[in-house]
Symmetry: C2
């Protein structure tokens, strides 16, 4: 099997014209979501620290970082974009392989487009290519690769960045092979980093390493010729079992972008159903936080085990508290970044609901569902049984909901720039210069 060769031929031949309209639209949704997430992380501690540590080593500073005023060389800008985009764990997820594929690909491309003139069509095509390559290599090595302890968003994301940048550089087949090879030999990122800044570092470093692989390949820096399929290639080295046919089967016909999902809430996915159900009750019945006098949740036993903390003080703890989830749903009707700050967790109105909420593990409730019963001060008793949470494949976020999520994260931009940046995402394939998107997504 000649996996790399087949993949390279597809990459070289690919054109946006051959991508179905629904996939293009889904790519724009992914792009809008990842730009929003990058804005949301642009001033987080991990991003600030990385910039303070590595910024002094920047080359000619002509590349923009989404959501920031400083400029850096494009390799460093790709790193910083990637860290910011994933730091809240709020970016898109492929349920079939748990990869956040947009981050490493878009982080490299947005940096590239800020220093090189790229048409919006070429940009969108490169993004789709990179995304699909990541997901396909993910499928081929899932679950063994992930189960072994690799954080595939980093260890596989690097291929997407290399392919996307390589496509824009116009690499020939030989050099595209080297780009993939030099990506394979930089593939890294272990799950022991979860819970630390190291997790967000992974897509950033893979964006930077993939970009670098493409630059080296462009000048003729050679690699092994069978980086995916060789006995000592990526798949064999990092996955006990794999099926590389999944890299090439249906190339250009089947698109995993159709199975991408977007988080509506900035927290662990297991508390999403509770936020969703409580927000629905609030919207349907129009009560205030102060009206709530009793809350009973029935959740999957695993969810209760994972998220059973009521006495919390830090925003980060709120991301894994089923009680805080009920409080923000009932009290605010949403679960954006602002609901997981230290201030939100200590907001008296939310804290009161959190402390009066009771939760029971119930095997009859799925991990993607919840049963909520609420009593209000005026005596009303409300209840809701949610079976599929907002954001999963059965209930995708609408375009309007993605826009709300974007706005919620884009506080570093002026309102006019927020709207301009979203318009540039929706209209990316009509832009003569994709750099206009980047220009809109940095503060004035």
């Amino acid at each position: 099997m000649d996996v790399t060769k087949t993949l390279v031929a597809h990459i070289l031949a690919s054109r946006l014209d051959d991508v179905p309209q629904d996939v293009r639209h889904e790519a724009k949704r992914a792009l809008l979501n990842i730009v929003g997430c990058t804005l949301g992380g642009a001033e987080e501690a991990a991003t600030e620290i990385a910039i303070s540590a590595l910024g002094p080593f920047s080359g000619p500073a002509n590349a923009a970082v989404i959501g920031r005023r400083e400029r850096f060389d494009p390799l460093l800008a790709a790193l910083f974009n990637g860290i910011a985009s994933h730091v809240h764990d709020y970016d898109d997820t492929l349920p079939k392989n748990y990869i956040h594929a947009s981050s490493p690909v878009a982080s490299a491309l947005l940096s590239y487009a800020s220093v090189n003139r790229v048409s919006g069509e070429d940009f969108l095509n490169a993004f789709i290519l990179g995304f699909e390559v990541v997901s396909r290599i993910g499928n081929a090595t899932y679950p063994a690769h992930y189960d072994a302890g690799w954080h595939s968003t980093g260890s596989i994301g690097v291929f997407g960045a290399a392919v996307a940048i390589g496509k824009l550089l116009g690499l020939d087949a030989e050099r595209m092979t080297y780009a993939i090879g030099l990506a394979a030999t930089q593939a890294a990122g272990i799950r022991e980093m979860f819970g630390s800044m190291g997790k967000g570092f992974h897509p950033g470093r893979s964006a930077q390493s993939g970009y670098m692989a493409a630059l080296l390949a462009q000048k003729g820096f050679t690699s092994g010729r069978f980086p995916l399929e060789a006995p000592r290639g990526f798949a064999a080295v990092t996955a006990a079992r794999y099926d590389l046919a999944k890299v090439t089967d249906g190339l250009g016909t089947d698109f995993d972008l159709r199975e991408n999902t977007y988080k509506p809430f900035a927290c662990g996915i297991v508390i999403h159903p509770t936020i969703d159900a409580c927000s629905q009750l609030r919207a349907a019945h129009g009560f205030d936080a102060a009206d709530v006098v009793a809350v009973e949740l029935r959740v999957a036993p695993l969810v209760k085990d994972l998220c059973n903390k009521k006495e919390i003080a830090a925003g980060l703890e709120g991301k894994f508290s089923i009680y805080h989830a009920a409080a923000i749903g009932l009290g605010r009707g949403k679960g954006g970044l602002g609901e997981f700050t230290d201030a939100a967790v200590n907001d008296p109105a939310l804290k009161r609901i959190r402390l009066l909420t009771e939760a029971t593990g119930d095997p009859a409730v799925s991990e993607d569902g919840v049963k909520v019963a609420v009593r209000l001060a005026d005596g009303r008793a409300l209840d809701l049984h949610l079976e599929a949470s907002l954001g999963n494949l059965k209930r995708p976020l609408s375009d309007a909901q993605l826009e709300d999520k974007f706005r919620d994260q884009a506080g570093v931009l002026s309102p006019a720039r927020i709207e301009a940046a979203m318009a540039a995402c929706w209209g990316i394939d009509g832009l003569a210069d994709a750099g206009d998107l980047v220009a809109a997504a940095v503060p004035a």
Copy 2:
């Protein structure tokens, strides 16, 4: 077991004064050898291409690259040093785990010392620390890690660079842990790159990534706290079997530098015995290449299988030809870089010997030995049975032989600088500024 914590405590406490004199001397030999190898690779294609591709992205260009006139930011200089040092596969080897430990460590340190004032004592101590950390993590995961297809010089080398730079930065225990963690999560490099420029890329990238890990850690960029030993840490993710006690047992007492070896010849190790034996015959009997009329070799069957090519035209092929090995030993008495060029392989005097040489696989001969029988034009019949080849642990290269090897590779420097650079290696612990070594090892 608290491997990372124990290792970090040792790193923080380590002082050159506590290192035995024989280990210090071996460290100087390793340093001299790796600086020589870096000089030898400074103008190789892989180095030139990497510089042309990435040089334009350099930050403030204040760091020197061994053997070159240009300057780059120190992270890039570490990368270029590393590529140059390993490109000829001529650097030191630890027979117990096949790691070339000096390259990633020295490549980062030499770059660091060219932009920061570091005493020679601190430099040497950091080098020894980094070397030992690499070898110990190598021992703990050998052979499973290497057998899986990792090129440990890259995938483990990164720890040595992080620790060595972290030591010079004066990181506290928490930040040294992060440096090791951020190294672990950048660990990469697969054996499918062997035979391409990707192989030399590995120690370069690991030098750069380890250096970067230390810089990020210094500013407080966090990582997982158990990067070596956690269930999803480096050892479990990259090695089917491992014994992390080998990382910490005998720390500060047992030094793997004592088991480091240096290649006398710039080629595959299996043809070393033939070059060595033929060079000995030439030195003992003082004949010319033209005097040789017949050569018979008896080598281990595996050696004949691997190196049985007689009709060759490229220098690279000569590195794995037992016939070329006989020709250069008998014709020139050495096997330096100059004996593995295209010109050497096509040199009529050498080619004549190569074509008349016969080789037989003989199970009675070890892979580290050879039996050579030579007939000269004046009728003399010479023979030699070599049982242990020069450069292995039983017959280490002498300091003088290491100096000859250094001179052979240092053609980019003037004779005065060659001697000054060697003197700086031997006297490194007496230098007030280790940067003086770097200054001597670049062209005027």
